[in-house]
Every structure is written in structure tokens, then in C-alpha cells.
């Protein structure tokens, strides 16, 4: 890569004291161990791993919500551990969270999107413009005057995305945004993230434990016990189903089917990772 990476993670460790769930004792937990990673501008990266593998911790080190115990993280050249940089970093790297409710603070949809902008003293006319375009980008303009409790889970996540978009970030980190949504809403959110990546060039880091959500990524990083254990394009990652199973990840049945068919000699392209692609391979 010629240009410098947007997020440069250099040999970071992250430890914190927590209660061991089996013995009840307080002990230091190593959430990240010697992690190095570079995220390029415009990339669609998926952090894959089961609960507790460290993927959320890693994600939160990328926008200075957490700072590493050792090593350093540079976002567009700025060190995350310096407090003076934090606001700029968080403007550049936005984040949406798993619980759709606990990231919305205003009483009305359009006020929530505008909220972060009002904090920065941006003039009202510019705010209105940005709020409109953010609502268009995520298709919730028809909900603009509603209070958040009248929105569905998927709509609330889209509202959260709009709130982040209004700040014109370079990167959006989505920390398991679909974990509490139904299957159709899940698909909608993932499509939206891809759309933002392709049409607006926004770098996306998606944290998930679902393989099917990682299928369309440009690059997948698999984590286990705070370490990066696999890295590569989806096709090469999905070729190692046994290893993924050992990492406690659920294999979607279509992928499993395709793998079994390949094993008995039926040639299906390893690039076929979605239901449509696999169907196309089986019956062209």
C-alpha cells in the first residue's frame, strides 16, 4: 500500500482486572495480546470471533474509547493515548453499538442526528443540511419527527448510523449492531454498511460472530483469546471450516453444504459464499 493506513495498530496489549466467571476471584484479564493491524482507507474489514475473543476490545481501541496498556494506536497519524487528539479521532472514526436503544439520546429522530453537530457549534442551516443527507443515506427521512421508542430495532440502528454519518466520518466501526435484530433487519443493516462503503468510500470495520455477515467483506480477521489467528480474504478464510469450528464459530448450512460437495469432487468455486452465489455454482 502506498498511502499510510487510516488506523495503524502497533503491537498493542490490553489488560484489565475482572472477575473470573468460574472461580469468582478478581484477576487481570488479557483482552488483547500483541495485536498489530493496519486498516486502509476505504476498506471493508470484518473482525470475526466468538464472544470474549477480544474483537470488541480491539474495535474500541480504534476510536480512543480504550487506550492500550502497551503499544500504540495511530489514527490518521494521531496517537490515541493523547487526550488532545481524542475529539478529532472520534470525529474521524464513529461507532455504533449493539443495543439499539442505548445510543439514542434525543426525544425526536432528527434532533438525535443533529445532536453531535450542535455540540460543535455548527450553524443551524448547515446542521439541517447534514441531517437531511444523513437521513437520506439511511432511508429514515419518513421517520423524522417520531420519538425513538416508536422505531423498530432495525430503524433505531439506522438512526444511530445517521447520527454518526452527520459528522462525516472517514470510518465507521459497527460493534455487533445486528446481534439483537431479526434476520431480515440484520441483512438490511449489513447491506447499508456495504452501500456506505461502496458509494461514499467510508471505511467500515464490522465486528461480528456470524460468518454469513462476513461473506462480503474485503478482508476478514479472526480473533481468539485476544490474538489475531486468521487473516485474509473471505474465500481463503471460509476454506478452513474445521479451524473456524474450533474457534467456536457457527458454520452456516449453505457454506457447509458447499464444502461437503467440494469434498466429494463437485467443483464449486471457493468464492461462492452467499446463498445466491452457491446456488449459481450448483446450477449455473
Amino acid at each position: 500500500m502506498n498511502q499510510s493506513p487510516l488506523i495503524d495498530i502497533q503491537h498493542i496489549n490490553y489488560t484489565y482486572p475482572a472477575r473470573n466467571s468460574r472461580t469468582g476471584e478478581l484477576q487481570p484479564i488479557t483482552a488483547l495480546e500483541d495485536v498489530s493491524l493496519q486498516v486502509q482507507q476505504g476498506e471493508y474489514l470484518v473482525l470475526l470471533g466468538h464472544n470474549g475473543s477480544g474483537k470488541s476490545t480491539l474495535a474500541r481501541n480504534c476510536n480512543a474509547l480504550l487506550t492500550p496498556t502497551s503499544g500504540r494506536v495511530l489514527v490518521a497519524g494521531l496517537d490515541t493515548s493523547e487526550k488532545a487528539n481524542q475529539r478529532t479521532i472520534r470525529d474521524m472514526v464513529g461507532m455504533i453499538f449493539q443495543n439499539p436503544d442505548n445510543q439514542i439520546i434525543a426525544t425526536v429522530v432528527e434532533d438525535d442526528i443533529a445532536w453531535a453537530l450542535t455540540m460543535r457549534g455548527i450553524p443551524l442551516s448547515l446542521i439541517k443540511e447534514r441531517v437531511s443527507s444523513a437521513m437520506e443515506a439511511v432511508s429514515i427521512a419518513h421517520l423524522r419527527s417520531l420519538p425513538p421508542h416508536r422505531l423498530s430495532g432495525g430503524q433505531r440502528q439506522r438512526l444511530a448510523i445517521a447520527g454518526v454519518l452527520a459528522l462525516r466520518p472517514q470510518c465507521i466501526i459497527a460493534d455487533e449492531p445486528t446481534a439483537q435484530l431479526d434476520p431480515l433487519s440484520r441483512g438490511e443493516i449489513v447491506s447499508l454498511l456495504h452501500q456506505l462503503n461502496q458509494q461514499h468510500g467510508i471505511t467500515i470495520i464490522q465486528v461480528t460472530h456470524l460468518l454469513e455477515e462476513a461473506a462480503l467483506a474485503q478482508r476478514i480477521i479472526v480473533m481468539e483469546q485476544g490474538k489475531l489467528v486468521m487473516e485474509g480474504k473471505p474465500a481463503s478464510i471460509f476454506a478452513n471450516l474445521e479451524q473456524l469450528r474450533q474457534l467456536k464459530l457457527a458454520i452456516p448450512e449453505p457454506i457447509e453444504l458447499a464444502a461437503r460437495l467440494r469434498n466429494v469432487g463437485i467443483p464449486l468455486s471457493p468464492e461462492a459464499l452467499t446463498v445466491e452465489a452457491i446456488a449459481q455454482e450448483i446450477m449455473p
Binding site: 464472544n51 431479526d182 434476520p183 431480515l184 467456536k248 448450512e253 446456488a279
Partner: protein
């Protein structure tokens, strides 16, 4: 088929809103269904379809506006219905049940339900310890720990134990695995399987995720907009992907794949449903077609 343990006829539930007149919201309209004893059924629908409203009639949290519902012999609509007894027969776990734990130790929280049933001390103790073992939390290790030290998945199982300790005849679980990862999900379902086999409980799973209930349920009811729109075995329901999509639901990915293949002209009988069945069918058919070596 065993005797039905829940019989619902023409049940409707209409919410009275504060405004006067015709501004009434119908949550359920004219539902008819029967659930056989010892079976495991899934009630599927998107948020707002009425599935939560429906199951809340099973233990008397809601009463029907019209129609009848008989649960384990008790008429829920009757004025003198013994709701306390009904709630001993019907154990219900809501979404994110770990948020309802409050006692100082796991034992005390699981004992909450049995204590309300006015059982003897030793009886309560037996039930609590059995329930904890049944959900994979060996009582020697976990009974005296505070619930909040446990992981989310473990706390959820404590909540399940709390319901099991009441020895219900019917177990209703609302979105039991939402927020859990693959391992947590498989674990939870393995315990449910065990409960189903060992205790002969009737299990009702409420979910918006069809794939989730595929392994466990014998029969599915699909709700949409307060109406029951489909019912049948998972096998028959899942093959109707287009209809499901109309109601905001997605069939499991494998069924979607098979539907796509059928559309492309591959002859797949509607009976094919599990991964193994699909694999053997496709393996044979490709070999028969004699395409590439």
C-alpha cells in the same frame, strides 16, 4: 398425538387505548390453535405480529377480549381463574431474562419461584439443586455465588433454572437466545433438548428467527399482524420462502438455497430439509447428470 394441553378458540385481544371511540388497537384477531402435550412448538412472527401478546395469555398475564383459552384444564378467561396456580403450571421466560435476577445468591434467586408456591424447605432445596444441575450449572460450584459474577449466558441459565424449579407443565420461552453467540446458542438448546426429554414438558418457543427454532420445534405457528397465517411442520413452512418474506420473515439459509435451486430447475422434493438430506440428494443428482469428473 397426545391430548392438547393448550386449546385456543377464536381468541381476540383488543387493546383499549385512552382515547374514546374507535381508536382501539387489535393485537390478536380470531386465533385458533391447539398445542399437544409434550410437544415443542414455535410461534414465529416479526415484532408487532402479536406473538408476545399471544403467549402472555398462556399464564394469565393478559386476558382475552373474546374467545376462549384453556391451559392445562384452566379457563384463563373465567373470573375466578386461579392465576397463581396457572403460573405454577406455565413457566415463562421473557427476553433477556438475566436482567430479572436480583437475589444475593444464585440459590436464592432460583428458589424465589418455589418459595411463592409455599413448598417445604427441603422440597425447595431439592428442586433448586436439580434445576441448577439441569441447566449445566453444577450446584456445588454455583449455588452460593452472586448472580452478577456470572457471564451473560450463565445468568440466562440461572433464570431458566428459576423457572424449571417450579416444575411447570408448560415452558414458554420468548426469544431465548437473542444476544448469545453460536456457542451460547448451541449450549442453551442442548439443555432445552435435555429438559424436553427428561421432563416431558411442553415447550413453546417464541422467536422472529426461524432458523433458531428449526432444530427443536415439531410444529410452527406463524403470526402476522395479529392473525395466524400459517401453521405446519418446520419442513413444510420453510419451503415457502416467498410467503414468509411477505410476512417479514426469512426462511433458514439452507431452505432459501434449496428454493433457489428449485427455481433454477433442479428437481428437489419438498421433503428435503436437513443438511444431510440436501447433501445426499445433490451428490447423487450431480453424479447422475454425469457432469465434470
Amino acid at each position: 398425538m397426545k391430548e392438547p394441553i393448550i386449546i385456543i378458540k377464536n381468541l381476540s385481544h383488543i387493546y383499549q387505548t385512552n382515547q374514546s371511540g374507535p381508536l382501539q388497537k387489535a393485537a390478536l384477531l380470531d386465533i385458533n390453535l391447539e398445542i399437544a402435550q409434550g410437544s415443542c412448538v414455535g410461534i414465529i412472527g416479526i415484532t408487532g405480529s402479536g406473538k408476545s401478546t399471544l403467549v402472555q395469555h398462556f399464564n394469565g398475564l393478559l386476558r382475552p377480549t373474546s374467545g376462549t383459552i384453556i391451559v392445562n384444564g384452566i379457563d384463563v378467561k373465567a373470573k375466578d381463574a386461579d392465576l397463581a396456580l396457572l403460573r405454577q403450571h406455565v413457566g415463562m421466560l421473557f427476553q433477556f431474562p438475566e436482567s430479572q435476577l436480583f437475589e444475593r445468591t444464585v440459590y436464592a434467586d432460583v428458589a424465589f419461584g418455589p418459595q411463592r408456591m409455599k413448598l417445604a424447605r427441603h422440597e425447595i432445596r431439592t428442586r433448586v439443586l436439580n434445576a441448577l444441575d439441569m441447566v449445566g450449572l453444577p450446584h456445588r460450584e454455583f449455588a452460593q455465588r452472586p448472580p452478577f459474577e456470572l457471564s451473560g449466558g450463565q445468568m440466562r441459565r440461572v433464570a431458566l433454572a428459576g423457572v424449571l424449579a417450579m416444575s411447570p407443565a408448560i415452558l414458554v420461552l420468548d426469544e431465548p437466545t437473542v444476544g448469545l453467540d453460536a456457542e451460547g446458542r448451541t449450549e442453551f438448546y442442548s439443555y432445552l433438548q435435555r429438559i424436553k426429554q427428561e421432563k416431558d414438558v411442553t415447550i413453546v418457543l417464541v422467536s422472529h428467527d426461524m432458523a433458531e427454532v428449526a432444530t427443536l420445534a415439531d410444529w410452527l405457528f406463524v403470526l402476522h399482524d395479529g392473525h395466524m397465517v400459517m401453521q405446519g411442520t418446520p419442513r413444510s413452512i420453510y419451503s415457502q420462502g416467498d410467503a414468509l418474506r411477505k410476512w417479514g420473515l426469512a426462511a433458514p439459509p439452507l431452505s432459501e438455497l434449496l428454493t433457489l435451486l428449485r427455481k433454477k430447475g433442479l428437481a428437489i422434493s419438498r421433503d428435503v430439509f436437513t443438511l444431510d438430506e440436501a447433501f445426499s440428494l445433490l451428490q447423487q443428482s450431480r453424479v447422475l447428470r454425469g457432469s465434470r469428473p
